[in-house]
Symmetry: C2
Subunit: 338 residues, 2 copies
Amino acid sequence: MGGDVGRLRAAVVGTGLIGGSILLRLHEAGLRVVGWDPDPATRAAGRRRGLTFPDDLADAVRDRDVVFLGGPLPSLPQTLLTVAGLTDDRCVVTDVGSTKAAVAEFAGAHGLTGRFVPGHPMAGAERAGLTAALAGLFVDAAWVLCPSVDGLGPFRSLVGLVVDVFHAHAVPMSPGVHDSVVALSSHVPHLLAGSLAGAAADSAVRDAVVRLAAGSFRDGTRVATTPARRTADMLLANRAQVLRQLAEVRAALDGLAEAVRADDLPTLVDRYERAAAVRRPRPESAPPVRREFALDGDPADELAFVRSIGESGGHLTGCTVAGGRVTYTGVRPADAPA
Amino acid sequence: MGGDVGRLRAAVVGTGLIGGSILLRLHEAGLRVVGWDPDPATRAAGRRRGLTFPDDLADAVRDRDVVFLGGPLPSLPQTLLTVAGLTDDRCVVTDVGSTKAAVAEFAGAHGLTGRFVPGHPMAGAERAGLTAALAGLFVDAAWVLCPSVDGLGPFRSLVGLVVDVFHAHAVPMSPGVHDSVVALSSHVPHLLAGSLAGAAADSAVRDAVVRLAAGSFRDGTRVATTPARRTADMLLANRAQVLRQLAEVRAALDGLAEAVRADDLPTLVDRYERAAAVRRPRPESAPPVRREFALDGDPADELAFVRSIGESGGHLTGCTVAGGRVTYTGVRPADAPA
């Protein structure tokens, strides 16, 4: 993989909401892209939309430069193994699963870290399936990539696709940091939404609660309507981090509840003022970052640099390879350690 | 109060977001309306917008048919007492506070239940003040009214205003049921939002969490930016019900967390499927309700009927008084007890 993006041959395996949106965007951008889904009706629906959807997975991934793996989270390791067996070592593979440590470990155990880069485009919707897919789903979204020390080449190519084709923000992270962050930024919020909606569903005053649902209730229960199996898979794939971050949120909830019980106005006001800071817009003037590495240098330095960008709250805005050097551009929050 | 709505003389005392929006709509609808706020700058800002804002509260409420009390929740009982002392018994008074049992009890202790009808228009925003006010804020919103057995006349007039002028849904309830319902439909969601935002603000990976904030995180923390004092006042004014409903939500959260810990996929899927039901749109075909009462009948029957509409998840769509009879129209959920 590499060279002119428009000449790339791509495949998307598993064309639900996320995979389908990737497929639509690659098609719209003029790449030669093929879709495949285990569901024959989805393949037929894709063909009716003018997309190439062979019936045989081997036909879909043959001679591809890059393959995106979508589909249900628990299916991804096996899909990776199958696709790796059907393609050669020059074919870059990435996935879109919402947790990363397990699939990264699986890839390591099967000797695939040199061409598999775990990924997680952070966009979604409560709906599901190819019919819900949108070519523009990833514009300005964060797209996490988890490079390994022996997979920097594929990582660089994917940064180019993420930025130039999807107009998303490339966020490099280690798999472990990713899983810890999304536990708090996505998974625990799903638990809170499920508990609020669940308590309301079982309440003696349920109909009146629904009738008087304030914006806070509607917001706080929205993701409870995500397909239940998808939510459950996501939570179970990140159990340790979900339970760890949930403990932090419960401690904060205990503090608020104790202040309510004690009729303690100053503590409540103080806690809400501190909490609100996390919603304040960050300064637009995040300083730009630019770094070059020799392609024959120590890959650990390059890996540490790109991870530090994503793990400090920044993202990459570009990656170019020329003259034996790779140049990264990006931004990171003004107060992040350099 | 009564007769032609367009001839009504109204006042709004305390013109922040909610009071200010009431004032703007009454003005827009052509009523003769006067505003007052304890803050001289707010009065001056109101005058610059072409509204009538005397400096003296007594001038603002003199000879009014109806007075709406806005302003911070803890100030409402004293404001009620002041306004009641400045007006005569024909002047109907209502408030907009987000809890109702305390102010209803206060009105009873001061012999004001015959003309004070506790109210709660369920609309809002994270912003505050007259500058954030919008004449259309209450369109299609629920507007709770808590009539007493000796205050049905003022209640009927207010239903007319809520429906015909504000185009809101009039939801009659007892103060206690209101406070129980809003604890779950509004106050506990504020606690969850505060705990999620608070945990993120204190997190070691805070910047990355903000960077990867999924829709679930943004939704789940939105109301954490409500002015902190307003949120704290609301929670403390409804302590007993907030803590009771929080216990229900925590029990649901415990159930989800235990299923995650036990890697129990079927239980998680089942709980999320049940929880999602509370977000499903209710059938459009809620059966209409129409009931007449003789004005000289037993007011307890009329009170029980109107409360049953709101407490079962329905609302009133109209109230007309003619020929010694009052006629209510409304809707209630199809599966509510008749």
